[in-house]
Amino acid sequence: MSEPSTLVRAKNLVKEFSPRGGIFARRKGRGVRAVDGVSFEIQRGETLALVGESGCGKSTMGRLLMRLIEPTSGEVDFDGIELLKANDADFRTIRRRIQLIFQDPASAFNPRMTVGAIIAEPMRLAGFSRERCRERVKELLPLVGLADFHADRYPHEFSGGQRQRIGIARSLAVHPEFIICDEPVSALDVSIQAQVINLLTDLQKQFDLTYLFISHDLRVVRHIADRVAVMYLGRIVEIGDKRAIYSRPLHPYTQALIAAVPLPEPGRATSHTRLTGEIPSAQNIPSGCRFHPRCPYAMPICHERDPATVVTGDGRQVACHLVSQSLDIQPQALEPQRM
């Protein structure tokens, strides 16, 4: 790992999906804020895991970072370059340095293309010669544990794990620095999951890659991440070092999340905190702290005021009134999370 320096910095990212409407019926109304003012940094060479339950906005977040979805507002800084303001040519070269690995390896490929063509596609789009593409494919296949002859086959001839390897090979094709892994193993069987996770960590070491690892599986995240960001309803509620978060989660949601993980330890006491209710729809976000309706420790202030993000002693950032109070910080003294 090289010297810690920031590769990606997201600041106050917001994505609001506008409501659907016809040409005549432009319905007035609030859009859905899938991502609501998210800021974080990723250091070069590290793995930041973004965890949360379905609908919390973590996948949208990943796509905002590479402008696959255009953010409504906010800033993304990649290696010192303001991504959202970059012109087309600049953006094209930057985009090559950021790659995405998809959750469902079955649908991530055009079923009518051979594996070779699939892996070569990013290169061809980047203007590589046919010859170089072929060579690079030959390099990449063994790298991800596949054989040369696989290049002429079609995706449907492969198993799920193998397909994810193809996806990884494709994402590596143009020598990226930053890879966004969107639930890369959640569609795989347990025994295959481990293989792919190992591959990802090997590659990270080999090519000095930086990962944003999006997942709902806290066990996998526990293994692969350096730092963890927990998202709830479009916000990051807690972000910090993996060990700190897993050993002593501060935000009640993080606590509940970790407590809910079923562990292969029969007889373990099950007296852990259970959340009631379920994650509300992003269309009607609760007032105040958006977690308060499910929070076992909710206080009157939680109903009214959006908690500000505070930094704890171990460098963690948490957005919770309870934490702020225990730290004895006046919430109003802090800069609000979003302008």
């Binding site: 996770i197 999340l257 562990l263």
Partner: protein, 336 residues
């Protein structure tokens, strides 16, 4: 009334169950020689990866597989001594939903989208218990309250899409429990749910089981869920059972290399950190190209030449513990 069977004698007894599918490419054996016993109040976890035959086993228990393409090739399914395989369609209809119920993975698609949940819960009540419309409705309200649906009476008129995922699964469970079945089969009941919801549903199931003293078959791919929930565990691989034991024993001392591999490949959650996860190499075999001998041998680090030839039988390797591995004793010695 659930005490009709004495503790100790099995409520459900499956012997050498084999199920075959007719496909375009020919006949395949999806489940081969599965046997287990289930007593009232007991929970059996069936664990396996996709294609291991665990869901097919579950569906066969109620003979829910389409007869046009499936065939139960061998075996017996004895429910309180009656063989379900020999039962007529009308006998089956009496058993289903009354003696044995099933909960599927995806609560959304398990519910008919155009019928109210009240109507769907009342269906088995009216059918099996011959309740009147009003009686059934009252029972449905009770049931919904029982599974933790807030304001159950109002919910009767709701449609599935108006509920959240967790509530839907609660409704499905209420439906399955409507006639107080002796056996509840839960086929990946929490896979489609979020972690926090999964925890809630598992808690609910556990609570219901202890209240109703049902036998539960829990089918899952998640060893963590099994560890929290089951009394006994049956591990399946490529259609065959490879190991069966009480849950504590399995997690403490798995005997089959596959089970061991499976346990090892779960990322640890405690304080220890691993550079690399111990993964099982290779992939699950296709049902059309089953390896000879032990189906696991191509992926097994301990495979010997014998494993290529003989299909291992289940052999006892401890109290209530069986495993289907030729080298189970050798390995035991190796580890010791």
């Amino acid at each position: 009334m659930l005490m009709g069977t004495l503790r100790g004698t099995p409520l459900l007894s499956v012997r050498d169950l084999s199920v075959q599918f007719r496909t375009d490419q020919g006949l395949i054996t999806a489940v081969d020689g599965v046997s287990f016993d289930l007593r009232a109040g007991q929970t059996l976890g069936i664990v396996g990866e996709s294609g291991s035959g665990k869901s097919v086993t579950a569906m066969s228990l109620l003979r829910l597989l389409p007869p046009a393409t499936t065939r139960i090739a061998r075996g017996e399914i004895l429910l309180e001594g009656r063989d379900i395989i020999k039962a007529s369609e009308s006998e089956l209809e009496r058993i289903r939903g009354r003696d044995v119920s099933i909960v599927f993975q995806d609560p959304m698609s398990s519910l008919n989208p155009v019928l109210t949940i009240g109507r769907q819960i009342c269906e088995p009540l009216r059918l099996h218990l011959k309740l009147s419309r009003a009686e059934a409705k009252e029972r449905a309200v009770d049931l919904l309250g029982f599974v933790g649906i807030p304001s159950p009476r109002e919910s009767l008129g709701s449609y599935p899409h108006q509920l959240s995922g967790g509530q839907r699964q609660r409704v499905v469970i209420a439906m399955a429990l409507a006639c107080r079945p002796k056996v509840l089969i839960a086929d990946e009941p929490t896979t489609a749910l979020d972690v926090t919801t999964q925890a809630q549903i598992l808690d609910l199931l556990r609570e219901l089981q202890s209240k109703l003293h049902m036998a539960v078959i829990l089918i899952t791919h998640d060893l963590g869920v099994v560890a929290e929930f089951a009394d006994d565990v049956l591990v399946m691989y490529a259609g065959r059972m490879v190991e069966k034991s009480p849950v504590s024993q399995l997690f403490a001392r798995a005997r089959h290399p596959y089970t061991q591999g499976l346990l090892n490949s779960i990322p640890p959650f405690g304080d220890q950190e691993l550079e690399k996860l111990p993964a099982i190499n290779g992939t699950v075999p296709s049902p059309f190209a089953m390896p000879s001998g032990c189906a696991f041998h191509p992926r097994c680090t301990f495979a010997s030449s014998a494993c290529l030839e003989a299909v291992p039988e289940l052999a006892s390797c401890g109290p209530n513990h069986v495993a289907a591995c030729l080298r189970v004793t050798e390995l035991e010695r190796m580890h010791a």
